[in-house]
Amino acid sequence: MTDITQHTAARPSADFLHRFSVRDAGTLIGLVVILAVFGALVPGFFAERNLINILPQSSINACLALGMTLVIISGGIDLSVGPTAALSAVISASMLVAGVPFPLAIAAGFAIGLACGLLNGVLVAYVGLQPFIVTLGTLSTYRALALIYTGGNPVLGLPAGFRAIFNGSLFGLPLAVIIVAVVALIAWIILKKTPFGEYLLAVGGNEEAAYIAGVPIARTKIAAYMISGLLAALAAQILIGRLGAAEPILGNLWELDAIAAAAIGGASLMGGKGSVVGTILGAVILGSMRNGLTLMNVQSFYQLLATGLIILAAMLIDRVTRGRG
């Protein structure tokens, strides 16, 4: 017994390094390379103002991608994040315009996000439908509800007080960035330090084994979809705060960027694998690439091309280095 305790007590620093996985280091190197390339090509890319710009531009995608990461780790996928955000946005916005107090309107938006996630989760976990199909169906459904609710028109004229909440800054950083950073920290704690995180990894890694080991499968999956829905609603609040209006078509194709960020960050669509740090880095990689290309006046077609190539490159590097770390 004595040698065991010494063994574990002697390595707290090694333990800390151990937590920063090889895969995350790879994503970080990717980000550094991309930053270096744009730094060399684009004058003023490293200007403080521009760097401060990249983060808020990445924050909405990062917020969605964190929820997506948890769902992907559980062995699922959530294609409905964009329409969930839209539905949450138009409902919050119309309440705000009608003069409902901010906290209540924001809470209603969050409740919509949770409800959308709950429906996805129940259909996946209890009814046993495939996540891809379920969320493909709710993708259309939630979008349709947002369009029907607004008659297809944007909700305009959000109160300035509401907009100020999400456009403010703290310690020189935009509040949206701080909010997403806090969310990332919570997600990291969930994944690394709570039973729920272990359950997510186990359910996605081997559902049958997790069941035999007593893991509450259905609850775990539903919670993942509900978090994803909640974070989509949070992204929606940040966006309508920034824009001052809520369009029922907002969030189109958000799910693809979120999946891309998670995958670049090392999440496996087979489930059982994924990293909060990696996903954040993945979102910043996508964000800085878009920022750099825009500054270079590259046409949006080529930006799309670059996004595609980055995803494929990340997956190829993954494949080549697989089985280590």
Partner: protein, 508 residues
């Protein structure tokens, strides 16, 4: 007897590992040659070289005296080598005939698959060994034993001169094994050289003439099986004498688990028994007799349709394994990869999965405590190598099994349910698992051990229930325990008569 197959000084180096060094032996035409060794001894690497998956670093493979190049599986097949894998490589949704011609179906006009010819030729090949198999049936509807036979028929179609079989019988019943043994003997009569890999020594002694024993990538010896004992072969495999094990009972009179009239919707009916504190209760019976299903009911993994369970006199009703764990019951499942381990997660995580509440009393996991308990439990089960943060998939089957047992120890489980605890586990680790089960019993745990290996049941059990057709057909105490007694109760009466009709000894 000419050497149909000869391995000549084969070596295989991987980066950092010498998997095979200077392996030489030969197999004659018409010989069934056993290949024995613990996991990691190099058997699989050698078979992969034979089937063209790996290329040897040095040395050569000779077929009928001529060196052959086996750079890929297609070349190996063309050279007359057929490989029958432990985990069958077949497509369940396709028909038997389609599977037999997978990758090279007979064509008509160079474009269309000639289904009629495909089925006819499949039927011809099957007729020689098992005419009861319908070539048009979906492969998934066949039993594992029949699928093995389909693979052998496929080898016949390919006019294989060499058939290598990797653990073909790991999930067969005794009568299915006998049938397979006949088929293999038929192959040998036709001049095929058979390489037969198995962990089950009694089978190897039963059907092989000679055997090559490997250890640490090298040949220990090629022996004539008529002239050596099983014990001698085992010590060659493990490189040391395994102590002769005696059964020791730790059962007390105190009843821990009491089961009455337990039944499931399908496979289990009216099972009643008591399990005592410190007792190891064996459950024998054929595959399909309801043993696995019974364990799943006891663990809460499936729901019972009727019947009662009591633990220490208190009635319990289980609707999920979570409930079973709370009541102190843990299942060590048969299919470790599918139901036991979470492959990408570490040993510690796999161990802690069933007792997260203990490690996170306030919602956040106390990793220091988890590490301490993991170190303690894994030391207890003698995990090797002792790397608690390493993904469990990188460990051998035996060590994965130890980690699963450790999972239940960490969860404070008092009743351990083992389903085929040593399937696919090598001889050395097997002995360790037996020891562990006994030690746990000595500490007051109760265990139920389901096993198809009768020597295993006899070695471990204080008492044996023999299952047949979903219910307990007999209860045997230590005094009346023998392989013959178990077999006599396990086999349905009709099969015994059928066996007699064919002039075979029943239950042998």
């Amino acid at each position: 007897m000419s050497a149909r197959l000869q391995f000549d000084s084969i070596s295989k180096l991987f980066p950092a590992v010498r998997a095979l060094s200077d392996v030489s032996f030969s197999v004659g035409a018409g010989e069934i040659h056993g290949l024995l060794g613990e996991n990691g001894a190099g058997k699989s690497t050698l078979l992969r070289i034979l089937s063209g998956v790996y290329r040897p670093t040095a040395g050569s493979v000779l077929i009928d005296g001529r060196p052959v190049t086996l750079n890929n599986p297609v070349q190996a097949r063309a050279a007359g080598v057929a490989m029958i894998h432990q985990e069958l490589q077949q497509v369940p949704r396709l028909s038997v005939a389609q599977n037999m011609f997978l990758g090279h179906p007979p064509m008509r006009g160079g474009v269309f698959v000639d289904r009629r010819q495909q089925e006819r030729r499949a039927a011809e090949a099957l007729a020689a060994i098992d005419p009861t198999i319908d070539p048009a049936a979906p492969l998934g509807s066949l039993k594992v034993a029949q699928r093995q036979i389909v693979e052998i028929a496929r080898a016949l179609l390919d006019r294989a001169r060499i058939v290598a079989m990797d653990e073909p019988t790991s999930s067969l019943t005794p009568s299915e094994f006998e049938r397979l043994a006949e088929v293999i003997a038929g192959l040998a009569r036709d001049g095929v050289a058979v390489v037969y890999v198995s962990h089950k020594l009694d089978e190897v002694f039963g059907i092989c003439q000679r055997a090559t024993i490997m250890r640490d990538g090298a040949v220990v010896e090629t022996v004539d099986l008529a002239q050596v004992s099983e014990k001698a072969v085992v010590s060659m495999m493990v490189g040391r004498e395994l102590a002769q094990e005696q059964h020791r009972s730790h059962a007390s009179g105190e009843i821990r688990l009491s089961v009455r009239g337990l039944a499931s919707a399908t496979k289990v009916r009216d099972v009643s028994f008591d399990l005592h504190r410190g007792e190891v209760l064996g459950i024998a019976g054929l595959v399909g007799s309801g043993r696995t299903e019974l364990l799943r009911l006891l663990a809460g993994a499936d729901r019972a349709s009727s019947g009662t369970m009591e633990i220490d006199g208190k009635a319990i009703k289980l609707s999920s394994p979570r409930g079973g764990i709370a009541a102190g019951i843990g299942l060590v499942p048969e299919e470790r990869k599918r139901e036991g381990i979470v492959p990408l997660r570490s040993i510690s995580s796999n161990m802690a999965l069933a007792s997260m509440g203990v490690f996170a009393p306030r919602g956040v996991i106390d990793h220091r405590r988890l590490k301490r308990v993991a170190a303690e439990k894994m030391k207890r089960v003698n995990l090797r190598p002792f790397l608690l943060d390493r993904p469990i998939r990188l460990f051998s089957g035996g060590n994965q099994q130890k980690a699963i047992i450790g999972r239940w120890l960490a969860a404070g489980t008092r009743i351990l349910l083992f389903d085929e605890p040593t399937r696919g586990i090598d001889v050395g680790a097997k002995a360790e698992i037996y020891h562990l089960i006994e030690e746990l019993a000595a500490e007051g745990h109760s265990a139920i051990v389901v096993s198809s290996e009768l020597p295993e049941v006899i070695r471990l059990a204080d008492r044996v229930l023999v299952m047949r057709d979903g219910t307990v057909a007999a209860e045997l105490g230590r005094a009346s325990l023998s392989e013959q007694a178990i077999a006599a109760h396990a086999i349905p009466q009709t099969e015994i008569e059928a066996g007699k009709a064919q002039g075979r000894r029943a239950g042998a």
